[in-house]
């Protein structure tokens, strides 16, 4: 039977340390995180994969904050209905945030949890940082 790396396997791990990926303000006030690979993760995962994750996150946030016809239309419609329309529907931003949450969950299950890492959704940290929790590596001999 193939061994699945499910999260239930990681029963009560100890947190070894936390890495915080800060915001990158070089493009202004838009939400963007630094893609530089932290040195603490060098022993745990690929630089490539990490950068890909961060780049996708940045693209998703850019999509949320994008100024275009659709967002202007939504803004105008909301203004005309005295913002009551948001009682029935979600804003575009909120829709994208849900997408991001799903993506992070996905990434955690597929890539990070098997390596004893955990990505925290930045929205839970007020969009300040991407928090990566490094757990103690107990399963050294499990052939990961």
């Amino acid at each position: 039977m193939a061994e699945t790396h499910s999260l239930q396997d990681l029963q009560q791990p100890a947190v070894s340390s936390k890495v915080f990926v800060q915001r990158d303000y070089s493009s202004g006030t838009i939400c963007k995180f630094q893609t530089k690979f932290p040195s603490e993760l060098e022993s745990r995962m690929d630089k490539q994969q990490f950068e890909e994750t961060m780049q996708t996150l940045n693209n998703l946030y850019a999509e949320a904050e994008k100024l275009g016809g659709k967002s202007y239309l939504e803004g105008c419609l909301a203004c005309l209905t005295a913002y009551t329309i948001f009682l029935c529907m979600e804003t575009h931003y909120e829709k994208v945030l849900k997408k991001i949450a799903k993506y992070i969950k996905d990434q955690n299950e597929k890539i990070y949890a098997p390596r004893g890492l955990l990505l925290t959704d930045p929205i839970e940290r007020g969009l300040r940082v991407v928090e990566i929790t490094i757990f103690e590596d107990r399963n050294i001999g499990s052939g990961r």
Partner: protein, 468 residues
């Protein structure tokens, strides 16, 4: 934790009451009263005459405009301006470590921390906020009245009783724009009334019956303010930046606004019709007061992660309770009641270790014995206060020691303040202990002598308000 976090965590009735009464937003209440007064005056004096002489649409239009003004005012006052939640202790520790490494200094307080970043060709300095323990994003600022960092900080408006920032700037603008239309509308029709009735009664009599003088001054001030904000929107600047002259050409030949798109129309669209980001503080996972069980872990995280998020949820809830208690106390009790009681130590939890080196003491006992309180406990744990069903017997941590805002509000100066210039609002604490913006000195926050009356009255306040 700032004003907004306290307000967000309780039910709506309590929030509104707390906002109106507790924070003593006298300017906001004055604004509400003035608007209502004017419209009532207008309705009683000029409207009957105008409805007869001209058309009954006039009072209807006036009423509709007034309702719109009220709607935008309330929306501006009660929405989150874009508060940046404070950094978690882990983040703060990580940042401190990075800064220490960069500065090469340890121990004594290092010089003000700044980070430089180049945005669109302009060098922008990011400052470190000692209260919120973050490097502020560009255009964010710390409001000393609300004790929060606010994104795209414009100004703290006392008339609205709230900061004006990224999330509520458009409502604020709509408020002042519609208010200027309303004042011009009222002014115009009051003049019409005077002119028309002066044919019948004579000019002076007509003048005496109308509130024209007051109208006149308010028209010019509101219209002026609207004009100023229209200019700011079209050049994509904040009031804060304009006052400081951050992007003024006087500072240097190459100084320009890196956020402006160059096109007035685009700037207006961005400010008024751009996407509205959700509130960052709603997401901190506040649990409802009547559901003390832990919020479910997200992202399918491990048990440890779940425990951690549970702890942080608990802490947020406790902070909330503690802050609200003090907030209510500030409104309901005269402080400076000298009682001597046995001190009880409340310690900071390990997570908050970096910011609370000192232990504060709270007194419980004496007058509080009538309330079903937990016994004073040894230093490592906190007393549980089962004072009111809404608090649901949650233990109180010492986190709220950090937060000075409820008492700051009492003596807050109600005028346009550029942030950062008032590190310690004057005369804040009635119990006589000076309190600076620095969060490291917390022993003075709790005056042992007044804590028992503080406690008792805050509890009474909670009980009273929850029954509203």
């Amino acid at each position: 934790m700032g004003v907004h976090e306290v307000l967000m965590c309780w039910n709506i009735k309590l929030q509104l009451l707390a906002f109106l009464l507790v924070y003593q937003n006298s300017a906001f209440l004055l604004m509400l009263c003035c608007c209502s007064f004017f419209i009532i005056c207008f309705y009683f004096t000029s409207c009957p005459f105008l409805a007869q002489q001209l058309t009954p649409i006039i009072p209807v239009l006036g009423g509709a405009l007034f309702l719109f003004v009220l709607g935008t005012l309330l929306r501006t006052s009660f929405s989150d301006p874009g508060v940046l939640p404070r950094a978690t202790p882990d983040e703060a520790a990580d940042l401190e470590r990075q800064i220490d490494v960069a500065n090469g200094t340890k121990g004594y307080r290092p010089p003000p921390r700044t980070k430089e970043v180049v945005i669109n060709g302009q060098t922008v300095k990011l400052k470190y906020c000692f209260t919120c323990k973050i490097f502020r994003p560009p255009r964010a600022s710390h409001c000393s009245l609300c004790d929060n960092c606010v994104e795209r900080f414009d100004h703290h408006c006392p008339w609205v009783g709230n900061c004006v920032g990224r999330r509520n700037y458009r409502f604020f603008y709509m408020f002042i724009l519609s208010l200027s239309f309303l004042t011009i509308f009222i002014f115009a029709f009051v003049i019409t009334h005077i002119i028309l009735s002066s044919y019948q009664k004579g000019f002076l009599t007509a003048l005496k019956e109308s509130p024209v003088v007051v109208c006149f001054f308010s028209v010019w001030s509101i219209v002026g303010l609207s004009g100023f904000h229209t200019y700011l929107i079209s050049s994509n600047q904040t009031t804060n930046e304009d006052i400081k002259g951050s992007w003024s050409s006087k500072r240097g030949k190459d100084n320009y606004n890196p956020y402006s798109s160059g096109n007035i129309f685009t700037n207006c669209c961005v400010a008024l019709c751009g996407p509205l980001p959700p509130s960052l503080i709603d997401r901190r996972g506040f649990i409802e007061a009547d559901a003390p069980q832990m919020a479910p872990p997200t992202n399918g995280i491990t048990m440890y992660g779940a425990t951690q998020s549970q702890q942080s949820h608990m802490c947020d809830q406790d902070q909330c309770i503690q802050s609200t208690k003090f907030v209510l106390q500030a409104a309901t009790t005269p402080l400076l009641q000298q009682h001597s009681s046995e001190p009880v130590i409340i310690t900071s939890s390990p997570e908050n270790g970096t910011s609370l080196p000192a232990r504060a003491s709270l007194t419980l006992g004496g007058p509080c014995s009538s309330l079903p309180l937990g016994q004073p406990t040894p230093p490592t744990s906190t007393p549980s206060l089962s004072c009111h069903e809404a608090t649901d017997m949650l233990p109180i941590h010492g986190h709220a020691l950090n937060h000075t805002h409820p008492l700051q509000e009492q003596a807050a100066l109600h005028h346009y303040l550029t942030p950062e210039e008032v590190p310690s609002p004057p005369g804040m604490l009635h119990c006589g202990s000076p309190l600076g913006h620095s969060h490291t000195v917390q022993t003075s926050f709790y005056n042992p002598a007044s804590q028992d009356s503080l406690h008792e009255d805050s509890v009474r306040g909670l009980v009273k308000l929850s029954s509203v």
